[in-house]
């Protein structure tokens, strides 16, 4: 049994985006019809996921990349046999990687229910399978961030943004399936940073960093990040000043297009 979720903020249909009725009708045509549950925010979604009946074996997010990342982030609330799917309302990096060119095609792929078991990573108590960015609040300290890898490498970092990416699909990365890219952030005037942060809040999706000069790239199985100020991710979720990022025992059962390499 499938269960669909869509954030209330994404209900407005446009020329490019289908209405909930159109989606429901198409789902029925493919014999995977089920009511779409709307939710207000991440907390609301978490509560709904916790109440899922055991008959639900497939959970699908209808929305954009950030909404799907929210669902992945809450993967700990899903039992191990539940598969996760994505019905994108707009093209994005993740939808492209999953081979989902349009919402119509995504429904066909959901109906086929071809499952890929993927390695998943945790950041604090949340999960991600593709990538996540961490930013720090402005601070005057020279080296506000310390990164420690699972190989006991300690790296002291100036004001910077960090991007973690799952590279486990690259076969030779067995020892180091997680890539950490470090971007200098100290060249951006504070006004730009504030504006950028506000923009991020509004559009709620990943954009390029204001300054994207890469100053480091490290690989590992896990990383401990300590910061002089609070860390927040690209979805503006707060992690405090200390967070662990690493491989998790739980795997993600993701519905993908045939022959898709994630």
């Amino acid at each position: 049994m499938y269960r669909y979720f869509q954030p209330s903020s994404r209900l407005t249909a446009t020329e490019a985006k289908p209405s909930q009725t159109e989606i429901t009708d198409t789902l029925k045509k493919h014999h995977i019809g089920s009511p779409i549950e709307n939710y207000e925010n991440e907390k609301d979604l978490a509560e709904k996921l916790q109440k899922l009946p055991s008959s639900v074996n497939t959970v699908v997010m209808i929305g954009d990349e950030a909404d799907f990342e929210n669902l992945i982030g809450l993967n700990k609330l899903l039992s191990d046999d539940v598969a996760v799917g994505f019905l994108p309302l707009a093209p994005s990096r993740i939808s492209h990687k999953m081979g989902l060119k349009s919402w119509n095609e995504a429904i066909e792929i959901l109906a086929q229910r071809r499952i890929s078991e993927l390695r998943i990573f945790s950041i604090g108590s949340r999960f991600f399978f593709d990538q996540i960015e961490l930013h720090i609040e402005p601070v005057e300290t020279d080296f506000p961030i310390t990164i420690t890898t699972n190989q006991s490498l300690r790296v002291r970092v100036p004001k910077a943004s960090l991007r973690f990416e799952n590279v486990s699909s690259e076969q030779f990365r067995s020892k180091s399936p997680l890539q950490l890219q470090i971007f200098a952030a100290n060249e951006a005037p504070q006004q730009s940073v504030a504006l950028f942060t506000e923009l991020r809040k509004r559009i709620k999706k990943e954009t390029e960093l204001p300054t994207s000069q890469k100053i480091g790239q490290v690989y590992g199985k896990s990383f401990s990040i300590e910061s002089a100020t609070a860390l927040s991710d690209n979805l503006n979720r707060n992690y405090g000043s200390r967070v662990r990022v690493g491989q998790h025992q739980k795997t993600l059962r993701l519905i993908t297009k045939r022959n898709t390499q994630l």
Binding site: T148, L153, V155, I182
Partner: protein
């Protein structure tokens, strides 16, 4: 002279796919790499990689190195054990021990090290 041309240096490669620590960082500890490594910062510790290692001009390195090949351009105090070759650039300052099948040192490099090259590996 077998010293590689500048464009062949790891640091010159576009997009640099391997492990790298730039001049703005400070690091200590160990690196067990899967691939090529480029260090261009203050670093104290050990590096062990089956790939190539480059110690950049901005680097201040202290520790031990095991790699397939090593290029040194910065300031290095180390025991270096390379399978293939060690190339020391003219701008490098190096003290310690160098062991490799081939060792190349450019004119101008400051080297105070015990060298072991050729078949005696």
């Amino acid at each position: 002279m077998f010293f590689r041309s500048k464009k062949d240096h790891l640091s010159e490669l576009v997009g640099y796919a391997g492990f790298f620590l730039g001049p703005d960082l400070q690091a200590e500890g160990s690196v067990e790499g899967d691939d090529d490594v480029f260090i261009d910062c203050q670093f104290k510790g050990d590096i062990n990689t089956p790939g190539a290692l480059e110690i950049g001009k901005n680097a201040n390195f202290e520790g031990t190195i095991k790699a397939r090949s090593v290029i040194v351009e910065g300031n290095v105090k180390a025991t270096i054990d390379a399978v293939d070759e060690i190339s020391v650039a003219s701008c490098a300052e190096i003290t310690g021990q160098l062991k490799a099948l081939r060792i190349g040192i450019e004119n101008g490099a400051a080297v105070q090290a015990k060298l072991n090259s050729g078949g005696d590996k």
